[in-house]
């Protein structure tokens, strides 16, 4: 092969294939084959990955926002006539429970219908990304639903029927309260205690007390504290410096999630965003990080996988893009490192919240 052609091929190897990723997310929005069955109850979060991914790519114009918005609202668990199900309110991950399609209240009486905290979180994000004004969100219901999920130790269940409880759902709760601008959805003090209790001997966070520290749970801890506005109240400067050290040691080329584990694209966001929130992301090696993320790019179908030569999936496709956005990849929008939506979507949220506050002030009472 001629020298020029060889060099061009090398350049192509690390080329960021923007159009492929747009098409990857576009396909995700349509129909997935049966082998994706395990994602049924979390379909709303898959929608979030695709929408936010397209937002980061500045390619939301391929999406029919109205259709998406209606579908999201059809997943809202609304209060019944007698409001006896308030502790079940929020958003479902999908229609799997079998409640008939409806975007309006009152809620349907059903013995097993309830929201899922991560779906309420990703549902609200998705609405924001699509430019919706959240006026059809039953805020009272969502906040009651979140409140009902918090345990004595400060952690949260995912669903009112019970589930595992850990720091992931504290993060979801914090995002929900932050977006709705209403912290009555959680006991912040208890949540902080649980987070502190999850700080491990090696200066990062596990899923709960005593558990192995991990990049994903460390993101949940730090991002939650940032959203609550309590980072420096909850953690001393010394602790923060030690956490910075643990996080920055996760870089191997890309990042891994735990010492002596292989690198994985998604940690370029989980750990990268944590480092950004702690103001030391600029001290990481951008080039090696970028090269690793791009090595997991699927050049044929688009998207990113956790490892090179593996199958791409919506989560890694989205977080791979976010990882690239953090290091300033030119064609990508900036991401809010705590809320995990674009700065554009975040600005829309800020405008909405401003409107809500003004409306409350002018009414002189309840919104």
């Amino acid at each position: 092969m001629a020298e020029e052609e060889k060099q061009f091929e090398e350049f192509e190897q690390i080329d960021f294939l923007k159009d492929r990723h747009v098409r990857f997310f576009h396909r995700t929005l349509q129909v997935l084959p049966e082998r994706y069955a395990s994602l049924e109850t979390t379909r709303l979060s898959i929608l979030f990955f695709a929408l936010s991914g397209l937002d980061v790519l500045d390619a939301l114009d391929v999406v029919d926002s109205n259709i998406m918005i209606e579908w999201i609202y059809s997943l809202q668990v609304l209060p019944t006539e007698d409001k006896s199900n308030l502790s079940c309110c929020g958003f479902r991950g999908s229609s799997h429970i079998g409640v008939p399609y409806s975007t309006k209240g009152p809620g349907v009486v059903h013995p097993y219908d309830s929201g899922h905290i991560a779906m309420t979180y990703t549902g609200l994000c998705s609405l924001l990304i699509l430019g919706d004004d959240l006026s059809r969100v039953n805020k009272q219901g969502c906040l009651a639903g979140v409140r009902a999920l918090q345990l004595e130790d400060g952690s949260f269940y995912a669903v009112p029927e019970g589930s595992e409880n850990d720091i992931r759902f504290i993060y979801c709760a914090a995002c929900i309260c932050y977006m709705l601008d209403d912290w009555s959805g959680m006991d912040i003090q208890k949540a902080i205690e649980y987070i502190r209790g999850s700080l491990s001997y090696d200066n990062a966070f596990g899923q709960g007390a005593g558990r192995e520290s991990h990049g994903g749970w460390t993101f949940c801890a730090i991002a939650s504290l940032c959203l609550m506005g309590r980072l420096e109240e909850a953690l001393s400067q010394r602790e923060l410096d030690r956490i910075r050290r643990w996080c920055i040691m996760r870089q191997q080329s890309g990042f891994h999630g735990r010492p002596n584990k292989p690198v994985d694209t998604c940690y370029s966001f989980w750990v990268g965003a944590t480092l950004e929130l702690l103001d030391v992301f600029r001290y990481t090696n951008f080039e090696k990080n970028r090269n690793f993320i791009l090595s997991t790019q699927d050049r044929l179908v688009g998207g990113f996988a956790k490892w090179p030569d593996s199958h791409p999936d919506p989560l890694h496709a989205y977080l791979g893009l976010c990882g690239l956005s953090l290091i300033g990849e030119p064609s990508l929008r900036k991401v809010h490192p705590a809320l995990n939506i674009t700065q554009r979507a975040f600005q829309h949220l800020q405008q909405l919240q401003q409107t809500w506050r003004e409306s409350t002030n002018s009414c002189g009472g309840q919104h």
């Binding site: 084959p33 409640v99 399609y101 995912a158 595992e164 010492p259 990481t284």
Partner: protein, 345 residues
């Protein structure tokens, strides 16, 4: 009542909708409205099972046929938490044999050890039985396939703490560390066991653990986990005040060096500066310690841990700012302005 073998090659579907015993029930399809999004294309067989699941759910039926159907629904999608919850409701309503349920969940976890729902289900059954006697062996079995499975370790910690099964755990941890001294989960478990049994306050324990760490470092120097464990154990007692430790680490630096050893040394020096007796930054001892710390930063940035070059330089600058005083020490890294923002491609 089992709906045939789950075999995608079968042409005929022994569907619930074709069975007389289910004729009383109206199947409930999924309803995504006029414009479904992120739709999963289910086969006829899959839809059939779940349409009947939804029908049972709607009337909250408590029956053997419902219980049997949950197994089919789980086989098709073990991540559906609603199915698992409904199954638990039925387990209790029908007073099902929980030992048999333990056998059932054991098999499922072995097939799908990274699924949250299956581990939660197992925990519920163990709690109802009040019998953890199979757990440690079962989890060990799962860990033998993947020694770092986070779910398995979490379940193990819950069992041990809930039922006070601390007795043999340190020995278990040591056997895992013999298999792989770089197993970070095992190191974490070591800390978990000791902090809940003897604790780390006793000097004898600290001494024993320090020796253990130094031995593991000699065997496999390039191992972040052991250094994190050592530092974690000592960091709040003052790294620089552990008698003889600094000397041992300086010895190891010559023959068993690693970025983790050097970072540990840096932390020792920083601790000495922070908590050392001579507080005056112009003090000779302080200046020497600062110089040594800055040399370590330079070594890491330029040679031993170059991927974190910017970070080590940043740490050096910060230390210099805090303890440098008026006089700039010897040939240590001069105070540099904050580095230029990195450009990519």
């Amino acid at each position: 009542i089992v709906c045939g073998v789950l075999n995608i090659d079968m042409a005929v579907c022994f569907c619930f909708r074709d069975r007389k015993e289910w004729a009383d029930l109206e199947p409930v399809p999924q309803d995504d409205g006029p414009n479904p999004v992120v739709k999963i294309a289910y086969s006829e067989k899959f839809s059939d099972v779940y349409d009947y699941f939804r029908a049972l759910l709607k009337k909250d039926e408590r029956s053997e046929r419902a219980f049997a159907l949950t197994a089919e629904a789980i086989e098709l999608n073990a991540a559906n938490y609603t199915v698992w919850h409904y199954r638990r409701v039925l387990l209790q309503a029908l007073s099902k044999d929980l030992r048999e349920e333990m056998r059932y969940i054991t098999n499922i976890i072995e097939e799908q050890p990274k699924n949250y729902q299956v581990w939660h289900h197992r925990r519920m059954v163990v709690e109802w039985l009040g019998d953890p006697s199979e757990e440690l062996e079962f989890i060990a079995q799962i860990l033998s396939q993947d020694a770092k499975n986070y779910h398995a370790w979490q379940h193990r910690q819950w069992v041990i703490q809930e039922y006070k099964l601390w007795d043999k755990e340190l020995a278990f941890v040591e056997s895992l560390l013999e298999d792989d001294v770089r197993n970070n989960s095992a190191w974490n478990q070591r800390h978990f066991v000791i902090s809940h049994t003897t604790g780390f306050s006793e000097p004898a324990v600290v001494e024993r653990e320090t020796q253990y760490c130094l031995n593991q470092i000699r065997k496999a120097p390039h191992n972040e986990s052991v250094w994190n464990y050592l530092k974690g154990m000592l960091q709040d007692r003052g790294l620089s005040s552990q008698p003889g430790l600094l000397e041992k680490v300086l010895e190891l630096k010559e023959t068993h060096c690693s970025p983790y050893l050097l970072a540990f040394l840096f932390d020792c020096y920083e601790d000495a500066l922070e908590n050392g007796v001579p507080k005056d930054s112009l003090d000779q001892g302080c200046q020497e310690t600062l110089e040594k710390a800055l040399e370590i930063c330079k070594l890491l940035a330029q040679e031993k841990d170059t991927i974190r070059k910017e970070y080590w330089q940043f740490l050096g600058r910060s230390l210099q700012d805090r303890y440098g005083g008026e006089v700039s020490p010897g040939d240590a890294t001069p105070t540099a302005p904050a580095s230029e923002p990195q450009q990519i491609s």
